[in-house]
Amino acid sequence: MNVARPVQLLTPEGVRCEHPDYDISIEPAALRGLYRDMVRTRRMDAEGTTLQRQGELGLWPSSLGQEAAQVGSARALGDDDHVFPSFRDHGVVLCRDVDPAALFALFRGVNNGGWDPEKQKFHLYTLVIGSQTLHATGYAMGIAKDGAGAAVVAYFGDGATSQGDVNEAFNFAAVYSAPVVFFCQNNQWAISVPSERQSRAPLYQRAAGFGFPGVRVDGNDVLACLAVTRAALERARSGQGPTLVEAFTYRLGAHTTSDDPRRYRDEAEVAAWAARDPILRLRTYLLASGGADESFLAEVDAESEAFARRLRAEIRNMPAPDRTAIFDYAYAEGHTQVAEERAEFLARQSLSTDLEDLPAGEAR
């Protein structure tokens, strides 16, 4: 099979390289910003894992290793662009200025999504694999109808490409020339299933069969991810329709804190990918090109550490959710039977805790 080399603008060794179709001119300040975003993302992700281990969160899906794909693509977004994430896109959360505590609240079981999707231009995490790609496409169809020069990015994984919904989204987006960028993080695993078992063809090639371009980008190269997503977004905004971007990267951690990847994959493979660390790559380049010095790196580390500390405190002190929330958001305009259930709930227990202790499961 004829597989294109992934678009690369920074080699794994941290050396700038050229690509005939994509280029980027980027100021040192912006480069440092990307670096800061990635480090922060990694630090936040580590905090998620720690807090889960300490029982503060029910679950945490790690974004370790995918920082370049997430930050690069997110930093390509314009203010009016809209994001439809999957459930591991913590780097995008940070770049969209969504309150990280709202994200942690979800994995703490306090709510199912606490931020305002429209205000943040960042939809809620979607746990039913692939569903959000259709929402993204519909949203993009709406942008086109509005005549707004904006676009949408839909995030999803390699595993998601097997779902009917994702393929229907590809088709709707093509048919309506919707301004949507399908950003697939091929982290090579869908829980225990390697991507070569998920699909026989390189994923970016899926797009052509629906009538729009697909491009594979080095997902550990933040500059390439930025450049390719930026181009795809511009294409979308100018009415040329969707693009599929396959960011070829790697899930360095477990699927979630409930997972034990040693059961299904080689440590050697993980080690090989760890050596292609996206943050290290940018750091090398930053230092070599004079875009930053060691003191900047130390400052970012300290700042991220402080950020994590604040976040940790906030999560630990997060108030329990209001118990009537169960009933309050089922319907926008009320529902007789729910109102009755709510009244009965309040009357019956006058908010005393149910005595039964449900066993907490480990696996999920």
Partner: protein, 327 residues
């Protein structure tokens, strides 16, 4: 006194869509073959011509895609009214309806509203092939986050659809397809009442006959026949399955002490069970007989030459009325 014009159920729906499109500039129609063709039942006739392809979308043939993109459009501020071509073809969209459409308001703690109407022609009795005669309402009524309504006549078809479109919750709007060509007078000036209110369509004192959608006319016929035998049957058109207007049913049951529920949907784990359970609980000291249910059997919908045996028709409903009175 104004004499209002008579319209068919299908015509009333067409009128409701038209006037709602005029009232809501962000309203869209989406579905398979609803544009040029005007829908396989012609319910959307001329709407694409008059509102354009940008507002009346002939979609690709993919129900999940239709509902999923409708959700996205609603998130963008649009108000999509989706047509599912036939009852039996709603299931490819079931995941989007149950895990997304129904839950997003709660998932976002009220920040997201999805004012989407899913129109589904439903029910049997038209001599159709497989998957074209089903009554899936129990699946939707069991799903928290959805509202489920169904008109039984043209005036209700018009007004209930207008109200469903105005509603900020997702509404499954079930259209009794075998009644599409039946007519009533329609006053488009004044709504006959709230969307989720049941209606006593024929008062009576001996037994309450609860029904909805295509069964209402059947039940009225039964009441008429029973009257000839000096049995006074009160017919209640539920109109809304989620929420349920229990008060109207309870009030009726408290008078009659007896109730039959008739629907085309299979009885087993079907709509009648919920009504029977609630009414029995609310009227416990008043029930003089168990609430009896008449409906489809727990079998796949049969080929059309057997559908009159499968569907709860006049005889089976009358029979249940007799049985409940015999207690």
């Amino acid at each position: 006194m104004t004499i209002f014009p008579t319209v068919t159920v299908a015509g009333a729906i067409n009128q409701a869509l038209r006037s709602a499109m005029e009232a809501h500039p962000k309203m869209l129609l989406m579905g398979e073959d609803i544009g040029r063709l005007g829908g396989v039942f012609r319910v959307t006739d001329q709407l694409q011509r008059d509102f354009g392809e940008d507002r009346v979308l002939d979609t690709p043939l993919a129900e999940s895609g239709i509902v999923g993109t409708a959700i996205g459009l609603a998130l963008r501020g649009y108000r999509p009214v989706v047509e599912i071509q036939f009852d039996g073809f709603v299931f490819p969209a079931f995941d989007q309806i149950v895990t997304q459409l129904a839950k997003l308001h709660a998932r976002s703690m009220g920040k997201i509203r999805l004012p989407i109407v899913i129109r589904i022609p439903y029910g049997g009795g038209i001599g159709a092939v497989e998957h074209h005669s089903e009554s899936p309402e129990a699946y939707f009524a069991h799903t928290a986050g959805l509202k489920v309504v169904t008109p039984a006549n043209a005036a209700d078809a018009y007004w209930m659809l207008r109200q469903a479109i105005d509603c900020d919750d997702p509404v499954v709007f079930l259209e009794p397809k075998r009644r599409y060509h039946e007519k009533t007078r329609l006053d488009t000036g004044v709504a006959p009442g709230p969307l989720h209110r049941a209606r006593v369509v024929r008062p009576g004192g001996d037994v309450t006959l609860a029904c909805y959608g295509p069964m209402v006319q059947t039940c009225l016929d039964v009441a008429e026949a029973a009257a000839a035998e000096h049995r006074s049957v009160e017919v209640v058109d539920l109109r809304s399955l989620s929420p349920l207007d229990l008060d109207t049913l309870v009030e009726s049951m408290n008078r009659t002490g007896r109730m039959v529920i008739a629907h085309e949907a299979p009885v087993y784990f079907g709509p009648g069970a919920e009504i029977a359970a609630r009414v029995t609980e609310r009227c416990f000291y008043r029930v003089e007989a168990p609430v009896l249910r008449v409906g489809g059997y727990h079998t796949p919908y049969p080929p059309s030459r057997l559908e009159n045996d499968y569907l709860p028709g006049f005889n089976r409903v009358l029979d249940a009325v007799d049985r409940v009175l015999a207690y």
